[in-house]
Symmetry: C2
């Protein structure tokens, strides 16, 4: 199984959700992408259907928007 | 580790998220509660902080609101 990807932007809601996701599915099963550190990944996330962060894209390509930290517009702004 | 609890209300968004969560964390690690089948669990979910469904309450008590299917007001209505 390929990994899930967790996209976030360093907001408090994001960091909290990151801890929960790592706890639930295991650190080895998820790649963490922080837009504040790598904004070049934003287009890829949008293409996957990410509309807000934090969000988890599953190995099957489904997007789970978790709680609400920031919209993609905020992330880019 | 105790189980997570996944609360939902049978909406399409809920059912899709349920599949994803089971796939990600394993069926044996999550209890599924369907309000349409057991409305008596609604107060417990609200007490845990669930504001919309589908939502996952982690073993540590954090609430992850996943995408957006329906508000708790809709569920009770």
């Amino acid at each position: 199984m390929s990994k899930s990807i967790f996209y976030h932007a360093g907001c408090p809601v994001c960091v909290s959700a990151e801890h929960d996701i790592i706890e639930l599915i295991g650190k080895e099963n998820v790649d963490i992408v922080h837009f504040g550190e790598d904004a070049s990944r934003i287009p890829e996330a949008e293409k996957a259907g990410v509309k807000s962060v934090p969000a988890l894209v599953t190995p099957t390509g489904n997007v789970l928007h978790i709680n609400f930290g920031a919209s993609m517009a905020d992330v880019k702004g």
